[in-house]
Each structure stands twice: as structure tokens, then as C-alpha cells.
């Protein structure tokens, strides 16, 4: 049966969707805001499953400061307004010690001011356009300054100098495109053209024509959402894959490789901090735990699941080190560097509230899956580190973007 039904039954079974009213004394509550329904639910369901798996592990290992962790989760239905509403619910009514969740950047921006106003720590666990600097918001996903740099350098060797950018016409796309231009200058690449797509677009004939006119060696493609994913299909069917390379920073983050036909998916190169095919010991254990809990894995585990798992682990580790789950105490620990082994490899928290990541370069095979090409170790979020230091100035609360 399809993911949704499975998720519904899982949710009922795990039954943490009921807001806690009568609680045992010795638990610490954390809140979860996930898109279990709506257009983003492929991400939300896995984030939710990862979170609960992590909580289970934490509790098995003794909990946080001797207390069991309890999850209060709300289905935000892929709707920003619900993020605002339920974030407030978690804080006012449920009085959680920490909040987790969010997928689209707009959902994060809806929660961030609530977290900040109420001085509650919030973990956002998905790849995004970068630049957030806010004491109470912690970002465990990877940013363009981590993915694009290494990937573009590699692409130059592999394909050539000329690059064309296809990006969605909103923050994630425009900022990523900006970074492509920055790194292009640094590594001696030439950006021969850019196209920004409205979110609703699904007919890419004009884009494909422009690409052919500009004659690039490879394309950086960042289509977002199910509709834009057909870009890969159309690109391949137009016969372009034979002569133009195609690389992406978000392909695979939402199991696009399953949707895209095997032919079209072959040869697409992607970079992220995690893919299910990543070969580390921690990942093997992680996948084993996952299967034990949820049964055989039918949909590949996505990077957001890894990021959510990491968020919980970091929080628990920091809270235990601090001896308290008070937000300020936990934040203090994190700002000073918490290091962990995670399914992707080693991660470390930084004063910009971002993480040092391992970045993997993978290539799509002919079977809806990936082969790892190479691994870049200990990659720092250069940009975020350069504009944001919450140890020095903890009062900052904004999102930086290049050129502002």
C-alpha cells in the first residue's frame, strides 16, 4: 500500500498525535511539526519516522538527564499557517522543551519568530538556501555553500567550463543560482545562461530550447516539487543527456529518482550530506534500526530523515552535557561545539548554528538508485560561518543572503 496509508497506520499505532494532557512526571516533552499530509508529505513522513526512531534510541540509552523523552506531534499539512499555529500550540499549551520540524523554507520562517519570541530552541532539518542566523534556530541540513563548491569544482574537471542554471524562482533557487555564479568565478567557470521557473511550471520546452541555444557543458538543475521534477524527464527525452552533463543539489532529497524514469535518471549527478547508499558503519546500523522498527524499506531514506535524526541526537547530547533541557543551556553547549557520529559520518555543531557535514557526490544508476562517486570530508558552511557568529553576537535574528 502507498506511503500515506502506511503513515496513517503508523501514526495511529505510535499514537503520539494526541496532545498530551495527563503526563507522567518524569518525562521531557519535545514538539514535532511535520507535513504528514499535503504535497510535502513524502518528506514529512520520513522526518517523523526518523524523529521517533531517534527518540526511541535516546530513551533506550537512558533518556535525557534521567527523564524519558516524549514526542508531541502535529500534522502541519504542508501549510505555513499551520506551522505558526501549532508552534504556538506546542509552546503555550504543551510547553515543550524543544521543537523539531519544517520542510519548506517558508515553514521554517513561520516558526522561527515564534521560537525566538518564546526563547525555545527549534531544529530545522532539511537542506535549504542558507544564511539563517538566529540563536534559537538550529539548522541541521546542508547549505549551498557546502554542496555547490565541491560539486562545481568536480564538474569542471568532468564536463567543461560552461554551465547553465535551471532553478525555481524563489529564495532557494535564486540564492543557489547566486552561489553558482560566485563559485563559477572562483573556479574559472562561465555561466552561459540562467532560467528561473515558476513553481507551477511543468512544461519546460522553452527552457530546453534556451539551454540548447547557449551550448553549456553541463547544467545545474534545482527543480523543486513534483511538477518541476518532470524537467529531468523532458531533458533526457530531448536527447540532451548525451551531450550535456546534469548536476543537482536537491535531486534525491525527495526521492525524485524513484519518480523519474530509469532512463532519464541514469547519469544525473547529485550532492548532499546523505543518501541511503552511503557506506558508513553508522548508516548500516541506522538502516538496521529503521527496518526493525518500520519493516522493509520500500522508499529510499532521504537526507531529511538523516538530518532529523541528527537533530534529536544533538539535542539529547547537548542537554545531557549541560545537565538540563533549558533552551539556553542546550544552546550554549551547541555553540561551543558538539561532535557526533551520524549516519552520514561525523558532524559537528558550529557557532553559526549550522553543522560541519560530510558531502557525497553520487550518480544515478539505471535502477532508480545511486552510486557514490566520491566523498568530501568535513565540509564547512563557509558563508554561514563568515556572516554569523552567535557566540559573539547572540542577539542577531535574521536570514542573510549574498548581496544583502
Amino acid at each position: 500500500m502507498k506511503t500515506s496509508i502506511k503513515a496513517l497506520t503508523t501514526a495511529i499505532a505510535i499514537s503520539s498525535a494526541v496532545p498530551g494532557m495527563l503526563l507522567a512526571e518524569d518525562t521531557v516533552k519535545i514538539g514535532a511539526l511535520h507535513d504528514l499530509t499535503g504535497s510535502f508529505n513524502i518528506y514529512g513522513i520520513q522526518q517523523s519516522e526518523a524523529l521517533k526512531l531517534a527518540v526511541k534510541k535516546v530513551n533506550e540509552d537512558g533518556g535525557v538527564n534521567g527523564e524519558k523523552v516524549e514526542v508531541i506531534e502535529y500534522d502541519t499539512q504542508s501549510d505555513d499557517a499551520r506551522y505558526t499555529q501549532y508552534a504556538n500550540t506546542l509552546i503555550i499549551r504543551d510547553q515543550v522543551a524543544a521543537m523539531f520540524g519544517g520542510l519548506a523554507s517558508s515553514s521554517r520562517e513561520a516558526v522561527r519568530p515564534v521560537a525566538h519570541q518564546n526563547e525555545t530552541i527549534y531544529f530545522y532539518s532539511a537542506l535549504y538556501e542558507g544564511g539563517v542566523c538566529d540563536k534559537y534556530t538550529f539548522l541541521t541540513g546542508v547549505t549551498p555553500s557546502q554542496q555547490l563548491g565541491v560539486m562545481l569544482k568536480w564538474a569542471k574537471e568532468e564536463y567543461g567550463d560552461k554551465v547553465y542554471v535551471v532553478a525555481p524562482d524563489y529564495n532557494f533557487g535564486t540564492i543557489s543560482a547566486h552561489w553558482v555564479n560566485e563559485y563559477a568565478e572562483e573556479y574559472g567557470l562561465e555561466v552561459v545562461g540562467e532560467d528561473f521557473l515558476p513553481v507551477s511550471q511543468s512544461d519546460f520546452s522553452s527552457t530546453l530550447q534556451q539551454i540548447q541555444t547557449s551550448e553549456p557543458d553541463f547544467v545545474v538543475a534545482l527543480p523543486v516539487g513534483s511538477r518541476q521534477t518532470s524537467f529531468y524527464e523532458q531533458f533526457s527525452a530531448a536527447g540532451l543527456k548525451d551531450r550535456i552533463g546534469i548536476i543537482s543539489t536537491n535531486y534525491g532529497s525527495g526521492n525524485q529518482q524513484v519518480v523519474v524514469s530509469a532512463n532519464a535518471g541514469e547519469g544525473i549527478v547529485a550532492s548532499q550530506n546523505y543518501f541511503q547508499v552511503v557506506d558508513t558503519e553508522s548508516n548500516s546500523e541506522f538502516l538496521e534500526m529503521w527496518e526493525a522498527e518500520y519493516g522493509e524499506i520500500s522508499d529510499p531514506i532521504i537526507s531529511e530523515a538523516n538530518d532529523t535524526w541528527n537533530a534529536v541526537m544533538l539535542w539529547a547530547e547537548a542537554a545531557n552535557s549541560a545537565g538540563s533541557s533549558e533552551s539556553d543551556a542546550v544552546i550554549d553547549q551547541l555553540l561551543n561545539g558538539v561532535e557526533l557520529d551520524s549516519p552520514e559520518g561525523k558532524i559537528k555543531s558550529l557557532p553559526s548554528n549550522h553543522l560541519m557535514h560530510q558531502v557525497y557526490l553520487v550518480e544515478g544508476d539505471s535502477n532508480h538508485s545511486f552510486n557514490v562517486i566520491t566523498k568530501y570530508e568535513d565540509v564547512m558552511p563557509e558563508y554561514e560561518q563568515s556572516v554569523c557568529n552567535l557566540l559573539e553576537d547572540p542577539s542577531v535574528s535574521r536570514q542573510f543572503s549574498p548581496g544583502s
Binding site: 515558476p198 507551477s200 527525452a237 530531448a238 532512463n263 532519464a264
Partner: protein, 299 residues
Amino acid sequence: MIKGENKKEQSMDFAQITFTGLTTLSSISILLIATLGLAVIFGMMGVINLAHGEFIMLGAFVTLFSTQAGVPFVLSLGLSFVALAIYGAVIEYIIIRHLYGRLFDTLLATWGIGLVMYQGAILLFGSYTSGIGLPAGTIGIGKYTMSSYFGILILVSVILTATVYLIFVKTKYGVMSRAAIQNPQMAGSIGIPTKKINTITFSFGSGLAGLAGGLLVPAFPATPDMGVAFVSKAFLAVVTAGPMIISGAVTTLIGVGGVSSISGIIFTSVIGDVVFFTITILILRFFPTGVSGGWHGKL
């Protein structure tokens, strides 16, 4: 910002112009295929079916699953048509027929149907499913290539439109339904079974929507929200079409769609969309009887 203007000198050559024309035709034909069902229902019945996008989506899923189960693609298309035709007949019987003459009520009721279908699709199918991919083969002009499937779609859209036109102009059913629309009481009193005709028309329009979904599925992955991208433009083309619904809608799509597509090529795709919407508003304002308002013709 202007696309492609960055560093390279662009010289317009024959290949580029021809290919641009081909690309624009391709975009228009896709919209046209998606719009036909809506045009039939609105033009022949005065019913605005805001669930049209979800009908397309359902047709896409039928084709998808049946092709994945081994049924040849073309047969799956037929299956989509039939399945949605039956579905449309049921919807007409339960809901639509109680709302004839109440334009805004049907608009709202079909919006509700769309919501239910969308959410139901997410529950049943999940938010994403693997696609069937486009067939191999390209069309080339100069240095440009395009998937041959889009070329096929251009042909299909012309054939489909012509077929619908001929059905309504030449067949007995077509003539009867046009009579029923122009003067229902008169038609009824000369023995035209208006109720049955309406059910058939709605069914036919729904079948066309299902067929459209199936035709589009190789290029556009089947997801519960796939219809949304087409519905707004299809809807606008249909309401600006005027009394000659098919000719009018085709003209709007070619004209407005063409201008919008070219703006999208020159500037950004977002501007292309805004151009489409703005021209539509201007048409509504300055040609209130529709694009085909002053024309003489049958359909």
C-alpha cells in the same frame, strides 16, 4: 532579467526561429489537450467544472497504473477515457444536474469535488509515484533537438480538436446538444432528451479530461496536484472564448498562449505567466462577449 543574454552573443538563425515556433506550438498543444474537456463542458452546458484538473489527474493515474501493469500505452489511453467518462456520468447524475442554471453554485460545488478528489488521491496514491517515462526518439532542427513525443502531441492536439469539432457539428448528438444549449425548452418540446444529452456531454468532457491526463503522463509525472498547473490557464481560455467555444478557446490559446510562451522564452517563465493572466483580464474587460463574440460560425 533576460535569459541567455549573459555572455554569449545570440544570433537568430533559421534553425532557432523554426525551433522556437516548434517549442511554442508544443506548449500550446499541451494546453489545448488539457483544455478541450473543459471547453466542451462549459461551452455545451454552461457548467464550470473547477475539478477539471483533478479529472485530468485521475486519468493520468489510470493510464499510469494500467501501463505499469503491462497494458499497451495506447490501450491505456482508451481506458482513461472510458473510466473518466463513466466517472463523469456518475458525478453529473449525483451532483451537477441539480445545479443547472446556477453558474456560481456549480463553480463552488465542483471546487468541493476537486478538493475531495485531491485529498482522496493523496490518501490512495501518495504524493508521488514513479513515472513511465517518455519514449525515445528526437526531432532535430539544426543543432536543436526535442523529444519526438512532443511532436506527436502537436499532431494529437490537432486531431483531437478537429474530432471534437466535427462531433458537435456533424453528428446527430452534436446538433442536438447545441440545440439543447441554445434553447432548452424549445429543444425539449421538439423531443430532444435534454437530460440525457447533458449527461452524455458531461461524460464526454470528463472522458476528454481523462484522455488528456493519460496523454500527458509520460512527460508530466502523475501526482495528486498535477492538474493545478493546467487548470487556471485552461479555465481562463475557456471563459474568454465566447460563444464559439472551440474556435474561441483555440484562438485564445494560440494567441495568448503564444505571446505568453514567447515572453517566457525572452524574459523569464514567471513573466510569461503574468503576461498570460494580464492579457486575459484585458480580454475580459474589453471584449466582454468573448474572443469569438462577433464571429459567425458554428462552434
